[in-house]
Every structure is written in structure tokens, then in C-alpha cells.
């Protein structure tokens, strides 16, 4: 569930870039870019291969440093904003493939806490809820390594939803899926934005599969970010 109290109290919804310079290796992703864009609904972050889409997502989370300027998400700098953001990287996970999928989600549910849990049931129930939300309950107890690409994406989404985020950043969620898998994932993402009111920013080259679903497109090109609705 979305924490509405938290949402209401935040001053500035959306993504704000102020004179941002960001590089990835020798590629200049953004050069003195300034922009304010809402992040409600589904936002497609597009750009050619190597343009720096993943780097920009990671910069929003504070995982890569900016060379200048600042990024605010929902009015907060990355270190604070990431408490309200769920993230699914491009390769969902290739660690511990023999562990059941549900263990991966349980680890994400209380992975920010120190010490031993006093009660295990709340964590189990929350993990089950997230897996149900992403349609992954049926294969939750199978080893992650035996799941298909689409099934793993659902487990990854359940992980990203841990902590009840307001915003999901999804890096290429449609990559390596066949046409049917892409359709299912797009339907699921649309369902999440509609039911939970969560904003989604995703990178993808599959613009056809997303047609009619995305609220806006942010195009990363020539050191700038261009928005079209």
C-alpha cells in the first residue's frame, strides 16, 4: 500500500534536475541539464544504446556520483529519496539461484534492519503479499534458477516493491522477454500504477509494446533530457 501521509507531505513531486552534469565512462550523459518533470503514471526513459539511461536511474538513487548540479526526486536528494524508491536492475539477480524465489523477496522485505528478527511471520506475510501483487505466488517456492525470464522479472518486481515505495525505477524490464512476456509485464506494470498509485520510470527499447500505456517519454540525447507527453 502507498503511504499517503508521506506522499502528501512532500513538497515537490516528480524529478527535478538542476544544472546536472553526469558522465558514464567517456560518454557525457547530461551536460548542465535543468528540468522539472512529474513522475506520476508511467514514464519511459528512452535513448540510444550507451546514451546513459541506466546511469541516470542509478544517479537518481545516488549509486553514481554527479559531476555537477543536483537531482531531486519528489523533492529529496538521492540519499533520502531512495527510501521511497524501488529499483529493479537490468539483470534481476544471478545470485543464489538455488534458493527459493520467496527467500529473495523476504530478504528484501527486512533487509534494511540490523539484528535478528523477533517475529518471522510479518516478514513472511509481507513477502507473500508482494509476490501475490506481482502474480508470482504460483512459483514462489521454486528455486530462482529454474524460473523463466518473465517469472524472474516478477520476483524482481516483488523485491522492488518491498518497503512500499512511491516510485519504481525499472531498468529494461522488457529485455529478454518474448512478445507474450512483454505484454504480460506491461499489463502488470499498468495494473501497479492504477491500483497502487505508484509512479514508474522504466528504460526500454520496446516502444511498441509500451505504446498507449506510458504517460510521458523522456528522451536522453546530446547531453540533454527532452520530455514529450
Amino acid at each position: 500500500m502507498v503511504d499517503t501521509k508521506r506522499v502528501c507531505c512532500q513538497p515537490e513531486r516528480g524529478l527535478v534536475l538542476r544544472d546536472v552534469t553526469l558522465t558514464a565512462g567517456s560518454t557525457c550523459v547530461l551536460r548542465d541539464a535543468s528540468l522539472t518533470v512529474p513522475l506520476s503514471g508511467m514514464t519511459l526513459l528512452s535513448g540510444r544504446n550507451g546514451a546513459g539511461k541506466s546511469t541516470l536511474l542509478r544517479a537518481m538513487l545516488g549509486l553514481v556520483p554527479l559531476q555537477g548540479g543536483e537531482i531531486l526526486t519528489h523533492g529529496l536528494p538521492p540519499a533520502q529519496a531512495r527510501q521511497h524508491i524501488g529499483y529493479m536492475p537490468q539483470s534481476v539477480t544471478d545470485a543464489a539461484l538455488l534458493l527459493p524465489a520467496v527467500s529473495h523477496v523476504r530478504a528484501a522485505v527486512d533487509g534494511l534492519r540490523w539484528g535478528l528478527p523477533l517475529r518471522l511471520r510479518p516478514r513472511r506475510e509481507e513477502a507473500d503479499r508482494l509476490l501475490a501483487l506481482t502474480g508470482a505466488s504460483a512459483f514462489a517456492h521454486r528455486p530462482l534458477g529454474l524460473l523463466s525470464g518473465g517469472e524472474r522479472q516478477r520476483v524482481g518486481l516483488a523485491q522492488a516493491l518491498a518497503g512500499n515505495p512511491d516510485l519504481l525505477l525499472l531498468d529494461e524490464p522488457l529485455a529478454a522477454l518474448d512478445h507474450a512476456g512483454q505484454e504480460q509485464t506491461v499489463r502488470l506494470l499498468g495494473d501497479l500504477t492504477a491500483r497502487l498509485g505508484i509512479g514508474i520510470v522504466l528504460t526500454s527499447h520496446e516502444t511498441e509494446a509500451l505504446a498507449g500505456v506510458v504517460t510521458r517519454v523522456m528522451q536522453l540525447a546530446d547531453g540533454g533530457l527532452h520530455v514529450r507527453v
Binding site: L63, R82, Q83, P89, T93, A96, L99, A107, D110, L116
Partner: protein, 268 residues
């Protein structure tokens, strides 16, 4: 066999080390750091050789050397996907440097072959009360740190990028865990010797992971198997006169092979 003090000490020492090895080993295998477990126990050998040369107990040298190596390995800068890109190279070079030092320590201590044999193959029947107390201290410290770190360590091990994105201090967690692993390796080497210390860490944990068990059940099985291997090794050694590490190593490989067979049988 329990009428002798040295046997009672051996069983208690093996139990303490098994609980530690089963738990730490499970996390090491989960994080694909089997090579680190192998290297840390060998690095401990060099430390022990140095300690003997300087007139200190071997366990103290093992702990100091393993701990230093653990910090170096754990502090390596992470790559883009949250896993150090050069991890194996770093471990290999730290291992090479410390083994070189170990050879020099042995040369200087002038007790080369007999000392090396003891350190490499362990002397579980030679554990005295003082060593037992030290082992208990190391185990309590390691398990306490693991309990404190556990949930963040598990998250950072299963989904390193997602954990970092949510604010888990993955590098700090990694450094502290490697320090714990280093201490555990030193403790294991006291029982199984530097050459086979990692068999107690790797065998039971790999078997538990192979069976696809979740964290709690996996760690419980890993500890149980480690206990079975070390106590079984002691008993078989008593009966057959073959060294304890021989039975531990053989048992570790056998348990993994059985788990593999069972998994194949289930998937038919």
C-alpha cells in the same frame, strides 16, 4: 574414548568450530566466496608459522593474519553491479604474498617440516583448555557479529544492486563479514588444519544450498552437517587411526555428492 581429557576437549572444540563453520560457510557459499574461504585458512597458516617463530600461540598468529587478509579482501572496491570485479585476483595475490611470508617464517623458526605438518593438517587432539576458551571467544564474537549483520548481509548477498539502492552500506557489510569469515577460518584451521579448514566451511554449506533450502533451514542443516562431519571424523579417526581431516574432507565431498544425486532424482 571420553575418558580422556584430550578427547573431551576435541569434541567440544569440534562442536564450537562446527557451529561457526556451518553458519559462516553458508554465507560464504551464498556470496560465491569459496575461494576466499580456501585462501583465508592458508593465510592463517602463514600467520601461525609467524607466531610460532616469534614465540606466540599459533592461534593468535592465525587470527591476526586472517583478519588482515579479510580486511584487504573485503575492502576491495565494488564494480558496477555490486560485486568486486577483481575479487579472485585480489584473493589470489594476497594468498601468494602470505604463503611466501609463511615459507620465510618456517625457515626462520628452524622447525620447518614438523611445524608445517601440524599447522597444515591440524591437531584437534592437541586442543588444551586455553585454546578451547579462545575458540569459544572467537565463536561468540563471530556469531554475535553475524546475528547483528545477518539481514543486511543476506539482502546484500542476494540482490547487491537493489540493496545498495535501498541504502544498505554494502561495502561496510562486506568488510565486516570478511573479518568474521577470517576469524572463523582461523578457528576451523585449529581443528581441521589449514589445508582442510575450508572443507568444514564449504562442504556442509554447499550441500545445504544444493538442496534449495531457504536461509534458516539451510543454515541449520549446514551447522548440523558440519557437526556430523567433525564429530564423525573424530570417532572414525579413533577407530581407524586415519587423521581427522581425512574423514572430514571425505565426508564433505560425499554429502555434497549425495545432495546432488537426490536433487537429480527429484527432478526426474
Amino acid at each position: 574414548m571420553f575418558e580422556f581429557d584430550f578427547m573431551r576437549h576435541a569434541f567440544v572444540g569440534a562442536a564450537v568450530v562446527s557451529v561457526l563453520a556451518g553458519t559462516v560457510g553458508w554465507f560464504l557459499m551464498l556470496r560465491r566466496q569459496a575461494f576466499a574461504a580456501h585462501a583465508l585458512s592458508h593465510i592463517g597458516f602463514s600467520g601461525a608459522a609467524g607466531a610460532v617463530w616469534l614465540g606466540f600461540p599459533p592461534l593468535s598468529g592465525m587470527v591476526v593474519f586472517s583478519l588482515m587478509a579479510g580486511f584487504v579482501i573485503g575492502a576491495e572496491r565494488e564494480g558496477e553491479r555490486g560485486v568486486p570485479a577483481q575479487r579472485d585476483s585480489t584473493i589470489g595475490l594476497v594468498l601468494a604474498a602470505s604463503l611466501g611470508l609463511g615459507a620465510w617464517f618456517l625457515h626462520m623458526s628452524n622447525r620447518g617440516s614438523s611445524l608445517a605438518t601440524t599447522l597444515l593438517f591440524g591437531d584437534v587432539l592437541g586442543i588444551d583448555l586455553r585454546t578451547l576458551e579462545a575458540l569459544c571467544g572467537v565463536a561468540v564474537l563471530c556469531l554475535g557479529l553475524l546475528a547483528f549483520l545477518g539481514r543486511r548481509l543476506l539482502f546484500a548477498s542476494l540482490a547487491p544492486e537493489v540493496a545498495r539502492a535501498r541504502g544498505v552500506p554494502a561495502r561496510l557489510v562486506s568488510v565486516v563479514f570478511m573479518a568474521v569469515a577470517a576469524l572463523a577460518c582461523a578457528a576451523c584451521a585449529e581443528v581441521a588444519g589449514a589445508l582442510l579448514a575450508f572443507s568444514l566451511m564449504i562442504g556442509p554449506a554447499a550441500t545445504a544450498l544444493k538442496l534449495g533450502l531457504g536461509p534458516l533451514a539451510g543454515i541449520a542443516l549446514s551447522v548440523g552437517l558440519a557437526l556430523g562431519l567433525s564429530w564423525g571424523g573424530l570417532m572414525l579417526s579413533w577407530v581407524t587411526d586415519a587423521p581427522v581431516p581425512f574423514w572430514i574432507g571425505l565426508g564433505a565431498a560425499l554429502s555434497y555428492a549425495l545432495a546432488d544425486l537426490w536433487r537429480r532424482f527429484r527432478s526426474l
